[in-house]
Symmetry: D2
Subunit: 347 residues, 4 copies
């Protein structure tokens, strides 16, 4: 059923012909039913929207406990939320769980028992939070573990951002041993979830900007550290997130002490991500505008002038709801179900 | 003429009584005339607004070449711009130059020749750009050089932010020698000036966020380095600014490798800035909202958890148009003219 | 130079001399203690901020039930909320109630019983909601009823906006009898209060704009109609409010069929508001930027071209938290307590 | 499952099957080459983005005089602008002109001479500006004139908004004769074009809202009046546009005096637009969020309570760059070239 099987090559991600080919496939082939648990949050609604345009998957149910029975318009379509307990788990080939951390784990077990494959968007099964060894769904790093897997832990948005930015340096051992990697990241408000909190009101966020969880206290740091450790790197991470007055998009500016100066600042990224449909490497600094509503991470790297320690400044941006959540979840689901990896994803 | 002379103590900055005392002073005492060159830009207009409420200074002229003859409303008052060549330089006790870099220097000479004291808001006379040795107007560090001075180089907004944040560590030699200090800073769009550029249009900036001048290429870096050097510190600076979708405010998140862990993360700042009217030190992380429209820098510091190198994360915020430009310029002017340092400044 | 009302003359609202005179007064004269009920909402916090700069009033208590015991920073000062039941009502010369509609009325009775004068910012005592005949606190229309009054109903923000815009036409009988006055108004999100609602989250409001309460279903309409009726006008009102992606400010565009064309479109406003410190009449169309953080309404009027019915388009803007709530409340309090009407208000 | 127009039935606009059918068509059928003049503005770039996903059209050239030679990224693709004089006009089956008013007309003649069909997005050929009788491209009103036409005048964004909202009432003669129809409209900043003007800078627009062209002085009014006149309606129009702090989207709130009360407020719209793929009629008030990035107008209507004259409040929203410009231009091009009307358009 994998339409790119015969050549083994990865399909180009964009361009009308490939897109048409995907649609053609969908037109003749039975679509696979998938379900969503936690469908009313930002990630859940983004899943609904993206699945509405997917050529090989169709929505079997969208469950949301507090808003069960409600009908909402998402991307021009109407979707009625069911209660999770009423969701026909067994009808789905794969279930996305966008439930809150702590709640999601148990539901992924129920989904597996019902025979569905699972993509868990919470951090319950991720490295740093769980030692169950569930494959980590960052396909650019872990594609072969995800392909065909029954259950996948979908990475957090910040870990996706930071790991895609650092992986080429980690893989080639280019970071100065014992050095400190400094990560200043900023996120749009949807990163905090669809939660009615006073501090997320428009009147509080507009014209503001703030750091939070300074001093390495953000929950996602354990996940980053666990993944960095898999490369055998001996580095300190300093991670400081900030809240931006924008709806969506995250951007990290990462300062890395190098073992030695690089011949080409972009070289490691160009080498590792050549042919990757969802990573763009560019000499131009990325901005949120370049990536929102797209399933891509966009990365640039610049050597810092006037320092004694050779230092690289790496900037990476992606849409926290797409490549940082729902888009990546579908990228994983495609791999788990044997579909073309880029199927249904906005490149 | 210094109304706090008799006690030698610095007046408290806020509270109705002190404010009333300042007004009382203004009511009975002749106000000193001041002029503005470059009055139509963001800093120039902020100067107009702040001077409108100053108890000891009054606006003699506001010059703006391209908009000469135009009348604008600023803070509820009408101001008509004159051509710089028509400005009565000799009538002013002090002239603020908010002219562009490269243009300002020559005008400050003209102003001095006409007998006026000068605050130059451009970088023409600042350390890193000039070796004329003009006093650097960051009163919390250089108060005694500014007091009574004929001409002062008003710092850039980013250098004010970074130097106020780092000075306590620099002064006490707490930064690990040879270490790398990483500065991720973000600025509202008024930091780019009142310039009709496509990339500053609302339609381009809203919902966006981007780094610029990555790799230590920002013009303000020389100024920061020159001032850091005055402390004898042996450090690399990595400075990466970002453009925020807000009108005003700048915030820096600075990561500093320490010589040794600190007993109290806030200790150095509390010690150095005790009694300073325009620096707030707080365990709570500062946000733009805390500082906009006020002449204050607000600083927090947190020890990073889980690192081998003892590392501090320092966050500092201020309003780029007030403490980062016009407010600080008035703070300097007050010192130059023998007025109370906080006179007319929103604390 | 007289600031008080013994001469019957209204002091000029801005300019350093008058402001200094007010401060001088405050410096020598005992300040009157005032209290706030419902101090943690947007209007309550604005009251706290404005009172911090008032020359004749000082805050005796700020009560907020849900946040009792919390200390917040407002305008550079720290304020600790008390429980309303613990508030020393009897210590205050005047109490502002910014409690919710339905709750406020009973508390104003308690405040009166304790001997305090009252400004009620809820709609519990306003025309259209109550027939108690409490003076309506729109000083430009009802100054003499407010002066010295024990209790005043502070108008809603939309009624303030619309009534100040329409009063000159109503007073002179210039609106075509039986005609329809169409009001399209738009408000920043603080108009909806400091309420943790999903639809007020930044992620929902940014880049959006919507009408609400279309078809004359907004609660403030009764208040407008009751006040319009006091002029004996025979008109239909169509009022459609909209939600703007801004924090503060409201603007109404009002279309009025005239009895006959006007010699001067601005004439009626210039005549009625000459000398009013807090109403600005201008040929230039007002914008939110002209009025935010100021206690002013700014009004323009333009004759519509190319219509058979002579029609006027009146545009009015004000800050919903200042002239639309807290600022106007202080304006009323000043009149009730015999202080200068503009005391402590940003013109 | 038929997508084309041979049966006279209109295809459903959304849903995966139809979308797949369109893609299938594109996959097997030769795409028609189209060109863009004025490709670097907001409408031009939106055309580039939409054409990138069109199953039956492909971009032959994108001309932009001032930015000729520049390569830009639009929707994940790279496009290099050519000079208009170098554009191969004769290679295109159809040319979109998004050139400025006054300039566009002459270029549409050149395009026609080269044998291409034309959609002119300027107002040079529209009713109210031109008496050449060029078909007006508002397909929901003028579909049969557009089908197969050589040249079409694409409506302005405000006229599209207002005419779609009013047409059902106009067609059925439901507006009170001699009555005044009041239109308060608001537009995101892209409506003002990609022009480096001081008043469109982020720092000026954020947190602001203002009316402009009050008193019926907006250029689009002639176009609206000319089209309203085609229905034989005897009404005054009062049109007041406003500038919103959002990037895209326009919304009009229209107050209409009725000949008599309606049995159903939505009735006329439901009757006229049943089956229209790009008009949504809903009891729920539309918001910008419902329509941005989609080629739809969304309309609601509510009877006003408490008035003597029966009055309807009609609210209509659409994306000024899609249904208000580029999307509608493609809708027209599809009809001119014999393609399925909804081909390539986001429903």
């Amino acid at each position: 059923m994998r339409w790119d099987d015969t050549t083994g090559s990865r399909p180009a991600v964009s361009g009308t012909i490939d897109s048409a080919a995907l649609q053609l496939y969908a037109f003749f082939v039975h679509k696979l039913p998938v379900g969503i648990l936690g469908a009313s949050g930002y990630a859940g609604r983004e899943l609904c929207a993206l699945l509405g345009a997917h050529p090989g998957l169709e929505l079997a149910f969208a469950a949301a406990n507090e808003r069960r029975g409600e009908t909402v318009r998402i991307g021009g379509r109407s979707i009625t939320f069911v209660a999770p307990d009423d969701a026909p788990l067994g009808d789905a080939a794969l279930i996305f769980s966008a439930l809150p951390h702590g709640v999601s784990g148990a539901w992924t077990d129920r989904a597996r028992s019902a025979g569905a494959k699972v993509v868990d968007l919470s951090n319950d099964l991720r490295p740093g939070s769980s030692d169950r060894g569930v494959p980590y769904g960052l396909p650019e790093l872990t594609r072969e573990q995800v392909r065909g897997a029954d259950i996948v832990a979908n990475p957090g948005c910040y870990p996706t951002l930071v790991l895609l930015a650092l992986a080429p340096l980690l893989r080639e051992g280019l970071i100065a041993p014992g050095g400190t990697v400094t990560i200043a990241a900023a996120s749009g408000v949807t990163g905090a979830g669809f939660t009615a909190r006073h501090d997320l009101l428009f009147g509080e966020v507009t014209e503001d900007f703030r750091a939070y969880a300074a001093g390495n206290t953000h929950r996602h740091l354990a996940e980053m550290r666990a993944m960095v450790a898999t490369f055998g790197a001996d580095v300190d991470l300093i991670f400081t997130p900030h809240l931006l007055p924008v709806a969506r998009g995250i951007l990290a500016t990462i300062t890395v002490p190098l073992l030695h100066p690089l011949a080409s600042a972009l070289g490691p990224w160009e080498a590792m991500y050549a042919g990757e449909p969802f990573v763009e490497v560019s000499a131009e600094l990325p901005s949120l505008r370049d990536v929102v509503r797209r399933n891509v991470a966009r990365i640039s790297a610049t050597a810092a002038a006037g320092t004694r320690t050779p230092t690289l400044v790496v900037v990476c941006a992606l849409d926290n709801l797409v490549k940082g959540a729902a888009g990546q979840a579908i990228q994983n689901a495609n791999l788990q179900l044997g579909l073309a990896e880029p199927a249904g994803l906005p490149g």
